[in-house]
Subunit: 336 residues, 2 copies
């Protein structure tokens, strides 16, 4: 039994030129749309995350309170629930699944929200990591529609260093001959485990490991953390799905929205939404410096930094203090 | 024709229990040993580096001036010139090459220096990265012999985060089925290239890529930098040699010197040498914080940070400003 709905996008032509036929967008909603449709929050997913992975930020008394808001979590294309290499029929299956941008994802989400729910205003778009990429994209693609954005631990344009980090992830995965250029019948488990080990150094900070937080949260040794958490995390994922989302991530840049001709700063300047941009102090691939640069060009944005040793995962919902800090700031943004 | 000498170590029993028979230590010297043997500098190599890779820090008018000093560069065990998986006969060849510690390396170097040259005092031990690991080890293993140490972009104990970074490197390399558990006949080139891509994000800083320094130094694009520099760098290396040195690195800890029972702080406290410890501000795997901790326990040490966007490679000799800063500080240490 599934706990989500499926929106049929029909023939969906992507920014890079391919057409996904009978494309699908999986989503889940929380709470009730009020009569004037003014209580909408859109909360896109992150790299490999599915809607339920976002639920830690939703709850009674929290900023994302389903008693007050109608919260929509659209699953990112490629994440295994929406159209993905793993669930698309030939000829666009597996290694042939096309390249998808944040722009495409947000356009699909816009169709869902307008066609299914008749929504015209969004009180808030909020997202972590690649979810933040989609959050910025919402504000650029639909500036009249989005009232507030709260991108955390993400960026409006993927930095060169971040692209390089992802090259390492991709190279580790595709070094496994079982991957077969994407035409595997059995999962390339060696490559997926290697991805887990490569990711383990990036996802958290030097200080996280220095303070041995991995032991405090229930792992019996460093090796146990690498196997039980990191290898376990990626072993459950489909390799082609990961590579599809990785391409989306590497090519993240709101400057590539039609009308901006690659002008990143101009795209930032077009954002009308009120924004709190929230990096984590020790995030190794979305460092605060990149967001500082963005906020300079955004007319109505403020930078606030999460002080935490959790690095990128300060925004992952695993650490209570970080979650509380994020939640309080979203409350403040929603009240403004 | 070789430009180095070979010292025969004979049967050399390692800290972990194996005996390397007919073990060899390759080395090169620069300058002339003076009559009272007071002008000795030992300058160990780094991860996969060979003696000539150290030569950027040697020159007339520089701190390491062969007109004044007798400089010895010993090649690290496993680096392809000294005893290594790639040059050791069966049964200790290839994947069966034993585990080697910094302690072993320094003991071999000590034999060279005392037996071949009759040296009793070392004016300075200096080294970058794993060379820094050997530098600390010299000061702990032979405290009466070492007058000064200058470890840069390295540590006396490999941090947990650094160990995790190396797990990613190792997993990427060994994901290539051509590696065959170390029993390859042809190099596992896919894995070696993957190592290059994984390393590319770690070796330099976020700011290095943000400022596009890779373009300023002669690469035509990011992809060109990843292929021509990073893949090219590791493709020339032997996979088992890399894994041997990786084990040495991951297990770096002067606290494991016999007599200290794993007590890291006690080992730091035993260092008699005058020290300047020099991390690079944006080094992602040897961050300054780890050296700050060390210096607290060292009786005669000072921490000085290289301000540079070059990350770990601030100590690699590629950036003139960093090289000059390092050189000036070594001069100051030698004069004191």
């Amino acid at each position: 039994m599934t706990d989500y709905e499926m929106f049929e996008l029909g023939d969906f032509t992507l920014q890079q030129g391919a057409t996904l036929r009978a494309a699908k967008l999986a989503y889940k909603t929380y709470g009730t749309l009020n009569t004037d449709k003014s209580n909408v929050i859109v909360y896109p997913t992150w790299y490999s995350g599915q809607h339920y992975d976002n639920e830690w930020l939703i709850g009674e008394g929290m900023a994302l309170d389903p008693q007050k808001y109608f919260i929509i979590i659209p699953n990112m294309i490629g994440n295994g629930l929406s159209s993905s290499p793993s669930n698309t029929p030939a000829p666009y299956n597996k290694a042939r699944f096309p390249q998808v941008t944040f722009y495409d994802n947000v356009r699909a989400q816009h169709q869902l929200i307008t066609q299914v729910f008749g929504i015209e205003k969004i009180a808030l778009v909020v997202g972590w990591s690649m979810g933040a990429g989609q959050t910025y994209q919402w504000a650029v693609s639909y500036p009249e529609m989005v009232e507030r954005i709260f991108p955390f631990c993400g960026s409006a344009r993927t930095s060169i260093h971040n692209i390089v980090f992802l090259e390492g992830v991709k190279a580790a995965l595709t070094a496994d001959a079982a991957w077969k250029g994407g035409w595997y019948d059995e999962p390339p488990t060696t490559g997926l485990r290697a991805v887990g080990r490569v990711y383990a150094g990036w996802g958290l900070s030097q200080a996280f490991y220095r303070e041995q937080v991995h032991l405090q949260i229930g792992y019996s040794s460093l090796e146990d953390f690498l196997v039980a958490f990191w290898e376990g995390f990626f072993l459950k994922k489909d390799a082609n799905n990961l590579l599809t989302m990785l391409w989306t991530w590497q090519n993240g840049n709101i400057g590539n929205t039609p009308g901006f001709d690659g002008n990143f700063e101009k795209a930032l300047g077009s954002i009308k939404a009120k924004a709190i941009v929230m990096p984590a102090e020790m995030d190794l691939y979305f460092p605060p410096e990149d967001n500082e640069y963005e906020v300079k060009f955004m007319p109505n944005a403020e930078l606030r930094v999460i002080k935490s040793v959790w690095g990128h995962f300060a925004g992952g919902g695993a650490n209570q203090a970080d979650t509380q800090f994020i939640d309080e700031n979203i409350k403040e943004l929603l009240a403004s």
